[in-house]
Structure formats: structure tokens, C-alpha cells
Amino acid sequence: MKLYTYCLCADVDTFDNSISGVSGAAVRVLKIGDVSVLVSDCEAVPVTQENMLAHAAVVRSVLTRTTPMPFRFGTLATEQQLQSFITTNKTAIANKLAHLRGCVEMDLKTTWHSSVSATTKSDREVGPGTAFLREKRLELLGDELPAAERAELSALLRTELGSLIKDEKLGVLPSGKPGLAKVFHLVESSKIKEYREKVQKLREKRPELQLEVSGPWPPYSFANIELEFPSQFGVS
């Protein structure tokens, strides 16, 4: 029997049965050492809007009690695999849970026009093949933002939001073009109001950024611990 996994968390022994999991399945707490895993008994998970929202609802319900480390939608594992993962990564998970504790994720979207990217060769200056491969590379890299652009945007936001940002991840889609930059901030839950106020001030100060804020979210963007993929699959 496989288990559908929602999140890892500490200090959770029971779950509110009024909230259904994916495919209407009951959600239960699986204790592995000091870590609680919210799971449903499930062999397969159809990709439906209902199931995605069920996943989100289960994770969000935990957020009112503690900070969860949400799994990505669709993660299935046996109990043995979960035990192996948690035992192997015991220290990393404990450190991550400590890092996330008491925090939520706040997301910012902005029409970010990097001065760095403006100085690089545009797609018009390269051949169609190069442009195509650049696009594919960006797709594969996902949300990775070049270091120089990351530093520029990060510096701006840290100047304005300062100590409210406990951790930060930045991305831009599509990179190198005037477009949408995404910024994920880990913020202490007690400072959500202050965060919104400071974003509003920045919005008034820099209206061209067209800042949009959403949240609070469970810390999906900060949940991953170091992955084994690079060594296993040669991904760089």
C-alpha cells in the first residue's frame, strides 16, 4: 500500500477528520521519530483540480497549528520509503523545520526590468536556433534567476522590507526579457501586517514595479532540503 503525502511537521499528533484528502480519502498522522507525516492511503492520484485543492487544504489546515514542510502534489511513497527518507535526512529535516517554525510564505510578483539583462544580447541579436535553445534552457532551469539579476532585485527588496525577510527565493519568467519576476519571502507570521504595509509603501514609491502580493501561504517554496538528483542524474 502506498501513501499519499501532504506534509511533514512537528508537534502534530492528530488531524481534523472534517477535512478530506485527495480522492476523498481520510487523512491520518504517521509518526516517524519526532516527525509527523500527514498521509492518506492511496495507490494513485488523478490530476484533477479537486485533488490539488484537497492537497492545498490539508496543508493549509496544519498551518494554523504549526509550520508544515509541504510535499509537492502527487508524491506517493511507501511507509518504508518515508521512514528511510526521514531517517536518512533527520538532521536536514530538523534544521528545516526549525528554520520554518513560526513563519509563512508571502509571494510578490513584479514587472521587473533588470538593468543587468538589458545589457546582455537580446534574442533578436542571435540566431533562431540559439534563441530556441535559450528558451529550452530556461524551461529546464525553471525559476532560476541569474545571479546578477538576483542580487539587483534582492538588494532593492531588502532595502525596503529589510528585517521582515527571514529567507528569500527569486525567480523570473521568462528570464532576460522585460517580464514577470516572482519573489518568495519567508516571513514570521506575526509580521504579516507589517510586511503588507511595507509592500504598500514600496508600491507607492515605485509604481512602475506593479507589485502584487499574495499570502500567507504554507512555505511551499522553502520546503525542499538538499536533493540527491544532481549526483544521481548528473543534473547541474
Binding site: 510535499f71 509537492r72 508524491t75 529546464l140 507570521s189 506575526s190 520546503a223
Partner: protein, 72 residues
């Protein structure tokens, strides 16, 4: 450090501003990935995502790769 008892009663926390699209983006594109294997099925066809947006393959092909990787 924030106390989560405060969160429960916090108006700010209740005043969430999240859209359906963003919710789906979060659950599909972010979150913890374990052991390099996420299994989902679309229209009764199982797929495996290996890594983060690196490769999507059929279960059959992925299992074949795994079998080849295992020592005899």
C-alpha cells in the same frame, strides 16, 4: 519567534489573498520532493517526474532505467 496561537486569532492571517491559479502553482511546482520520484497519473496513464522539471517519462521507461541502474 512567532507563536502560532497568535496566528489563529490574527486577522491578517485570516485575510488571505490567494487565487486558484496561485494555489495550483504552489502545489504543482513547489514543495518537498523525496527520493526523486513523484508518481501521478493522467487519464489512467501513470507518469513519473524525475527531478525538478528535468524529465517526464512513462512509468515503464523509468522502471527500465531503475532496473539497469541496480547492481546485479
Amino acid at each position: 519567534m512567532a507563536d502560532f496561537d497568535q496566528i489563529i486569532v490574527s486577522e491578517e492571517f485570516e485575510n488571505t489573498d490567494v487565487s486558484l491559479l496561485e494555489t495550483l502553482d504552489h502545489v504543482l511546482n513547489r514543495g518537498l520532493v523525496i527520493a526523486g520520484e513523484i508518481t501521478i497519473s493522467v487519464a489512467d496513464i501513470d507518469l513519473i517526474f524525475v527531478g525538478l522539471n528535468v524529465l517526464v517519462s512513462s512509468v515503464e521507461t523509468a522502471n527500465e532505467v531503475v532496473r539497469k541502474r541496480k547492481p546485479e
